[in-house]
Amino acid sequence: MAKFNPGFSRRGLLKASAVAGVGLAAPTIFSSKSYAYMNEPKGGTVTLGFNVPQSGPYADEGADELRAYELAVEHLNGGGDGGMMNTFSSKALKGNGILGKKVEYVTGDTQTKSDAARASAKSMIEKDGAIMITGGSSSGVAVAVQGLCQEAGVIFMAGLTHSNDTTGKDKKANGFRHFFNSYMSGAALAPVLGKAYGTDRKAYHLTADYNWGYTTEEAVRSSTEAMGWETVGAVKTPLAQTDFSSYITPVLQSDADVLVLNHYGGNMVNSLTNAVQFGLRDRVANGKNFEIVVPLYSRLMAKGAGANVKGIFGSTNWHWSLTDEGSKAFVKSFGTKYGFPPSQAAHTCYVQALLYADAVERAGSFNPCAVVEALEGFEFDGMGNGPTLYRADDHQCFKDVLVVKGKENPTSEFDLLEIVEVTPVAQVTYAPDHPQVAGGSLGKCNPGS
């Protein structure tokens, strides 16, 4: 009698079932497809994912980022006046999309919450086939989404993120940051502050109680203390704080003559407004005029603080009043399309989109590892910040940093900040193992599939 042989044993069937079960249960983000790398574009289009805050406290900044991305897509596809593609030192971009594929995009809402930002990025990668994720207006979000992109095997081009950690202890091989960071703010600001206010000063820091606040306080403290300032107080303030009066009044009791507000967004608007209300700008301490410093300025936030920003020093990544050819080209494109000048968030996002596209063109492939190779050590110019290097060690851009001051007599609602100094890149460059950014490692690039 012929014996039925199914071709596999009971034990083998169980093993196969277990393996299949694990495979099905694993997150789809790690699943293998018949592509050489994650979301390899097969048709005539390529999809980019713009992950920006469309709701929550930074929604206006997110809206400006999205405008910039839409402009970048228009320019990449050959529309408009080409903007910075005309001034960019690399001439790889032809205005015919990326590698001949028309650029399309999907958007996600980070809500300025790490979990929401990861969820929207994951959705864009898995459901929409985004090959690159970019955007954001918070370091917490940037670090979270960068980690996700590393796991998923797509490139992350960070938007506005200023914490040292994004390209410090939390750096990843698939992540790149064009925006400057806390260390650079401290290094650029200190000499200007020393020149304006002297080297014998006593500073009091109010610091937002989260990662970005800590790195900014550390950076500004170390650079100002190095030139002779003394830090007489440093108090952490809750991120949800709206009225800072009870934090400002102890400053009056201290012997400080400078208040450093390591705050951003609504925190900065409120703490600065409260400080001015309590007469700190009119105060004389230790025989000197009392001064206020805001290490990270944003024009959109300065608008919220109104006249209170007048005469107050800070730093910024870029400003629309720069007169280099790249900045002028971008301001013209953006201003003509939208009717007002771009913010620094819009600038960094626009530049990141172009830098990614250019890297793909130069690499001749969308493969994330080829893009990483093309971006590492890439030197370029014509994008508004002078000669710039994407350092291979940490994927941080090194370029000139702007020290700005609240303008005394603004001529329009956009004309709130004036550039005091363009700090040369050499002054803000640090070693990859500098104590303020030490820790973590890039790891290996992950192409996904």
Partner: protein, 343 residues
């Protein structure tokens, strides 16, 4: 000592805002029995009344200045407010600068209208529903209102300064015999405190010395009996809802120079105001006011550097800590009435 005086002053203005919002919450809860989670949104809408009036005053027409250039190098479009033409530049400028105090008058009819619409259009359908339903629907309404404001005004804070005559700060140090500059306090915060005291006094006087107020208080104590006497208590309670909305709105209007208003400001106050109501005692107007000032001052003290260094994080939990202690020792709150929320 000067530091303590300063923190008490700080606590008073913060307490003023808590007290005004909690007063409105308690009025609504005491009369209608509704837990109104949209009350913070009413505070925010009041603030945006001030923003709106400022925007109305600055509605402008454009003229081209061929000499000056805009950011694109085109001839500059100069905007001139219409009120400059209608009232002259001096009066026009004064109107813009005094737009926050003027917004008090502007906001009263608007907030009454909003209050009446809310009560007649939505809240009245939830009188007999469980408190959980009321919380859900009013919280949903609060989110809708703040999203509407965000749509029209954006997410960024909008600076709405006090009139120039009331900016700057007073040096109480000299007045009280301390060093000059040791107790500095902004004029507008003093104005806010006095304004809040006047509103609170006005509401109490209205309830105590008018026939309308007497009927409302009777209704708060025993709604059914007042109804049996042939008095239309529901109509009066509707008016009380509008009054509570107006109090929250006025608190918002006057708060705008302290912190630039944004769409989320109501939520920032809402939870704390509920804690204030619970600590003061559900349904007790005096309790709400007393707890508002008490918690405002305590929160202020807890933020002092010396206290935070001794007890890290105390500034963020002090209000809830005090609430727990008071509720453990006095379950009805400081001045809670028997029978309220106890059935």
């Amino acid at each position: 000592m000067d530091a303590i005086i300063l923190q008490i002053l700080n606590g008073l203005d913060k307490g003023s805002a808590y007290a005004l919002i909690a007063l409105g919450l308690t009025l609504i809860f005491g009369t209608l029995g509704v837990v109104n989670f949209a009350h913070g949104a009413l505070f925010m809408l009041g603030a945006f009344c001030a923003v709106t009036l400022n925007k109305i005053f600055t509605i402008s027409y454009e003229t081209i200045d061929p000499v000056r250039k805009d950011f694109l190098g085109n001839p500059l479009k100069v905007e001139t407010p219409y009120i400059f033409d209608w009232f002259g530049p001096d009066v026009g400028t004064a109107m813009i600068e005094w737009s926050v105090p003027l917004a008090i008058l502007f906001s009263i009819p608007i907030m009454i209208l909003i209050g009446l619409s809310m009560e007649r259009g939505l809240i009245k359908y939830f009188y007999k529903r469980p408190h959980a339903d009321q919380i859900l629907v009013t919280f949903g309404l609060a989110i809708v209102l703040q999203e509407i404001i965000k749509y029209f005004y954006g997410a960024n804070p909008i600076p709405t300064p006090a009139p120039p005559a009331l900016t700057g700060s007073a040096d109480f140090g000299v007045l009280l015999g301390f060093d000059a500059g040791s107790i500095i306090y902004p004029y507008w915060r003093l104005v806010y405190f006095v304004f809040a005291a006047a509103i609170i006094g006005g509401v109490f006087a209205f309830l105590r010395y008018t026939t309308f107020g007497m009927v409302v208080r009777a209704g708060m104590a025993d709604r059914e009996t007042v109804g049996l006497l042939g008095i239309n208590i529901d109509k009066r309670f509707t008016i009380m809802f509008a009054l509570a909305a107006c109090v929250a709105g006025l608190a918002g209007v006057m708060y705008t120079p302290i912190n630039s208003p944004n769409y989320h400001m109501g939520m920032d106050f809402l939870v704390l105001s509920f804690v204030v109501v619970v600590v003061g005692g559900m349904g007790s107007l005096e309790g709400a006011v007393a707890a508002g000032f008490l918690l405002g001052v305590l929160e202020s003290f807890a933020s002092m550097g010396e206290i935070v260094s001794l007890l890290p994080g105390i500034n963020q939990i002090i209000i809830y800590l005090v609430a727990i202690i008071i509720l453990l020792t006095r379950p009805r709150g400081l001045m809670g009435r028997k029978g309220v929320m106890e059935e």
